[in-house]
Symmetry: C2
């Protein structure tokens, strides 16, 4: 697959795909002899994984660390697992905070509804 096809498929600009590769967020992409990128299904898998993780807020710095470990092979299994455990922890904390904010927004929206009704009553009365 060409870079523009991958861009289309995952909704990421080609510039971003090149950037991700440059900083080591995905392993080096397969190339044609001419030097043009030719994404294999595995390359695509990395793109999908990284897009997903970035979408949940994992930092580029963290994800490049993960990819670097992956590229070192089997002896980094434990470190990779630990990295994912740490990130899961952060994720859960953020979700917990967001849950509280959600409740607060619900409450505020409710208050606004009541206040709007009260205001309209006053204007009619």
């Amino acid at each position: 697959m060409t870079i523009s096809e991958v861009s289309e498929k995952y909704g990421l600009p080609a510039d971003t795909l090149r950037y991700y590769e440059k900083v080591g967020l995905i392993p080096p992409v397969t190339r044609k002899e001419s030097g043009v990128r030719d994404y294999t299904p595995e390359d695509c898998g990395w793109v999908e994984f990284i897009k997903c993780m970035r979408g949940a807020g994992l930092s580029i710095e963290t994800l490049t660390r993960y990819v670097a470990l992956y590229r070192k092979g089997n002896r980094t299994l434990k470190q990779r697992k630990q990295l994912l455990i740490d990130e899961r922890e952060h994720l859960q904390e953020r979700m917990k905070q967001m849950q509280q904010v959600l409740k607060r927004l619900n409450y505020k929206i409710d208050m606004y509804e009541k206040e709007i009704v009260a205001c309209e009553k006053k204007l009619l009365g």
Copy 2:
């Protein structure tokens, strides 16, 4: 309360508190005659609210719009409510995505555990 007390209380740097006020993220803070900030409980309430909303990922741009509407008075009740409804929607989308990533992380961590066990068995056998 002085700016350093508020900074301490909410864990936000004094510079950040000034910045928030400068960009309209919180309404202008009460001042002493000398021009020094002297946060009232209401000023503190805004700091707490903004800290909370920022923590959940609401943008400064969005929150300044909210504060600007608030400062226009009662006739912006409906717009404020709508803004909060929109933000709640975004928040829920992000939470949903994070929920999926959480599941994926759980799965991967599990796979790593199995793979580590398998590796260790091989080394012992």
